[in-house]
Subunit: 323 residues, 2 copies
């Protein structure tokens, strides 16, 4: 009897796979390199081959699985199970993904956007504790996210729901965003955004600071450098972190004033700054959230790390469990 879920997290560098129990425990996991050569035409066959190989390896058959779920970059068509415009995979044209995997592996398949899938993972067995109302914000090179409201992942009319990184936090005089707008959250609250803020704030800062010295010397400064300096009481670095967390506190408060989720979960590479980051975002969040929201919506750190993708992907396959 089918008792397992297979989750796939498709990224530009690796494809991660996980075999999970129906309650979200990872039993096995592995990864393969993503071969993006020749317009990414090897990706789907490589995934099929790797699934077949690992099912053999573990002595499993298709009958052991309720379904396969996948998170993918690009524009995902959930009905057709196709992906378009995933440029980090060299997939500019529409790719048949689900139909090929279902035909080759013989297990029902579901697919969604990678940020949405990570949100589902954190909501299911991570910081979201399976609550029906959870918002996930991921701070990496950019800012992504996913919104789960009343138990449903919110896609909106055209699938652009959850574009947390493009909430406008500086309507006047904001930085240019890759999306064509100015002042998006992503321009200031990502790994690149905090460095952008540092350069801007260095122009008017007059005290002594190793971070400011590095910037003035044209040396490379990272998000990690800035957080470490702030924790070591570099007052310039602290003022940058304060501005960074102001933007996140404002955006998470406004999301919460609209949705009153149980929690806003912060993940992604920048969230490695941990409680130092979380508590400062929370300070600003409390200033900008409606009183009843302030008392009931929590700011949390993500708990699943890189596994959020395979776990959330597996959760997509739960839809195939027969009632």
């Amino acid at each position: 009897m089918a008792q397992k879920l297979l989750g796939i997290d498709l990224g530009g560098t690796t494809v991660k796979f996980g075999i999970l129990t129906l309650d979200g425990q990872v039993q096995e996991k592995w990864a393969i390199e993503t071969n993006i050569l020749e317009d990414g035409k090897h990706i789907v066959p490589d995934i099929v081959a790797s699934i077949k190989h690992h099912l053999d390896l573990y002595g499993l058959t298709k009958d052991d699985f309720v379904g396969i779920g996948m998170g993918s970059p690009g524009a995902v068509d959930r009905q057709e199970k196709t992906v378009t415009g995933a440029f980090n995979l060299n997939w500019s044209e529409t790719q048949q993904v689900g139909s090929v995997i279902e035909a080759e592996v013989g297990i029902p398949f579901a697919i969604d956007n990678d940020a949405n899938v990570a949100a589902l993972g954190e909501r299911w067995v991570g910081a979201g504790a399976n609550n029906p109302d959870v918002v996930f914000v991921t701070l990496g090179t950019g800012v992504g996210g996913g919104v789960i409201a009343d138990g449903n992942l919110i896609h909106g009319v055209a699938g652009a729901g959850g574009e947390i990184g493009h909430i406008i936090v500086e309507p006047e005089n904001g930085f240019d965003c890759t999306c064509g707008n100015k002042g998006c959250l992503e321009t200031v609250a990502s790994a690149t955004g905090i460095v952008r803020l540092a350069h801007q704030m260095a122009e008017s800062y007059e005290g002594a600071s190793p971070i400011k010295a590095s910037l003035d010397n044209g040396e490379s400064v990272t998000s990690k450098d800035i957080f470490e300096a702030a924790q070591a009481n570099d007052s310039f670095a602290n003022s940058i972190v304060d501005r960074f967390t102001f933007y996140l506190g404002l955006a998470t408060a406004n999301i919460s004033n609209i949705l009153n989720p149980d929690s806003v979960v912060i993940g992604g590479g920048v969230s490695a700054a941990g409680e130092f980051l979380r508590s400062r975002v929370e300070d600003h969040f409390k200033k900008y959230s409606f009183p009843q929201v302030r008392q009931t919506t929590q700011i949390k750190l993500a708990q699943l790390g890189n596994d959020a993708g395979i776990i959330g992907a597996a959760s997509l396959a739960s839809q195939f469990i027969e009632a």
Copy 2:
């Protein structure tokens, strides 16, 4: 066989009633005054008496009705069907509403917050055209709203979902809000908010303007006066409307960047300014919305006027239709 819905819109001045078909057409409607004397203890008995009287009048019995739905001010407990802290009804303590009406009338009863209920009405048979993703923003003395995402009214963890009026649009130097925060949308984008903006902007405006003259003379100026002057090309009034619609465009864009609804529907008394208001909100919305959202989320005017409450309330009762 039960083929009708009864919708009740409970307000501080009147209680409105409507008998609707299952597809949302209003067949009969009437209203009674809200008697808020003696801690509002007459309100529920008056509602019961009015329902009984009108059922007799129309030759209907409880068996003709699938259910009764009600929208109420205050904090609504949907499970217990009670209302707490509805100060415009003199209901400070928790009131038994649903249990009394169900016992007296014998029809299943559902209740929700009045702004949410109006959102459901506009979504069902109004501007929302029964789309699964619709946000309703009501511009009156304050700013309220409701969020319907993936077909569900979003309450959030503590029922504070949809607090559109408390989205922060001026994080620095905003006006004081009744909620205790500063810079909430309601402080600038309501009937009182636009007058507040007018006073602030009058201080630095140097041209000739009848509106500015009225403000400087200490005369009463209303939202309607400002919109009428702007439409008559008073450039001071136009600059106020521009600021007012900037805030609404920013807030509706950020809501839409999070949820990508089919439409954001603008209602309430201030929306009487019509297309002049809508098109200017839309101009700012387009500037601040993510490209895919800009192409797919529409800014619309509400269509149901005062009937949104009884229609949305009736829609709550649809849950009692047997499959």
